[in-house]
Amino acid sequence: MRAIQYAAPSTVEDAVAILAEHGSDARMLAGGTDLIVQVREDARDTGVFVDAKKIPELMELSVNADGSTTLGAAVPCHQLYNDAHFTATYPAVTDAARIIGSTGIQGRASVGGNLCNSGPAGDTIPPLIVHSAVCNIAGPDGERTVAVEDFCTAPGRNVLADGELLVSLTLPKPPAGSGSHYLRFIPRNEMDIAVVGAGAWLQLDGDTITAARTGLGAVAPTPLFVQAAGDALVGMTADEDAFAVAADIARDAASPIDDMRGTIAHRKQLSYVLTQRALRGAKARAQGGSPTNGH
């Protein structure tokens, strides 16, 4: 690896000062499972690594007075799926946290890092979208918030300006009678990048859908919030006919490319099938059960 500098600030203010001074040469280091490999393989030219893990706000995982959850940007995946409250409350996010890389990757890799890497196939991003997460960003001009579906702007790019960092995500408390699920298609059982990923969140009143959100990964330059699919479901009975309507909209919303992992036609069809399955899983969880179609 090229020579680098390393700083481990203990406050957000210090981190912002370092990021602002070094501009695009500096980058936050959370689990390092993307950043260290990218710099070692000359895919990214970062000279100053700013360690996120000594800053309390970036390592926070706590429930707020209004029932929402603050998820620090550097909290590792394994901490999330070992947290019973988080797993029960935001199951689509832990579905993703369990399938990113391997156990050894999940020991370090964070949801915030996955988001800031801004890959189109980032597994945690559709789950964050369906859970209406908000990004808490700090920078030289103070703090601002961005809806997670507006965070990524292109492959590997996002709204963070030089000097800014993602401090945490705020996940609203899901209402009673709701559930979520995320799953992806890969050609093997584990340790792979999504050909397509789909997340869904549903709120039910009896059998009637009162609110819904779906998201897709790996079918566009950024992870997609398929707002029309969720909107179409409101007022419908949560059954296969309804899920087919939403899945059709998801297939239309997908604008994938052909690449080594899949073709356009395959990814369009997967957008349909996985949205359908994610909705089934979300429904099962909203009714107190579990998805039956695995991961």
Binding site: I18, T33, G107
Partner: protein
């Protein structure tokens, strides 16, 4: 106080297998490079050097990690367990004994990573199913055995450890 930006040789204090260790390393060096090249702990292996193969697995502050994807300087203040700390003066760890008896290794390059990872699994889940063993070890690649004997060795060790507990 402004945070110091470290470069060149950095003095790092850490704990490895229960003993305090000091080393000098550049920030660009990985924990794996420090273990192998500076400290003589060559049990952890460099396989892919990009987080895919698990041959460099160590436990850092209670979490299984790929030491190739940890910067040397991140070890400051951490507690690290490597394959060298698995056996005791009394003898091999049950996992090591089970790997031998079940012929769960051929060339052996992946074995330290598998044992460190499997030990972490059994500490969290003393009675895993075959599926859980395969899932947990999905990030450890072996090009010799076809995995079957490794999985059987882990299940066998788990049974022995439960019997002794």
């Amino acid at each position: 106080m402004a945070t110091e930006i470290l470069s060149g040789k950095v003095h790092v204090q850490t704990t490895i297998n229960g003993e305090q260790v000091d080393f000098l390393a550049e920030p660009r060096e990985s924990l794996l490079e420090v273990l192998r090249d500076h400290l003589g702990l060559t049990g952890a292996k460099e396989g892919c050097n990009n987080g895919n193969c698990g041959a460099c697995n160590v436990v850092m502050d209670g979490a299984l990690v790929n030491s190739c994807c940890v910067l040397s300087v991140e070890a400051a203040g951490a507690s690290i367990e490597t394959i060298e700390g698995v056996a005791s003066p009394e003898g091999l760890h049950p996992l090591q004994q089970s790997f031998l008896e079940n012929a769960a290794l051929q060339c052996g390059v992946c074995t330290p990573g598998f044992i460190v990872a499997a030990k972490a699994l059994l500490e969290e889940n003393p009675n895993p199913t075959e599926y859980e063993v395969r899932w947990w070890l999905a990030g450890n690649l072996c090009r010799c055995t076809g995995y079957d004997k490794i999985v059987r060795a882990v299940l066998d060790a788990a049974e022995r450890m439960r019997a002794e507990a």
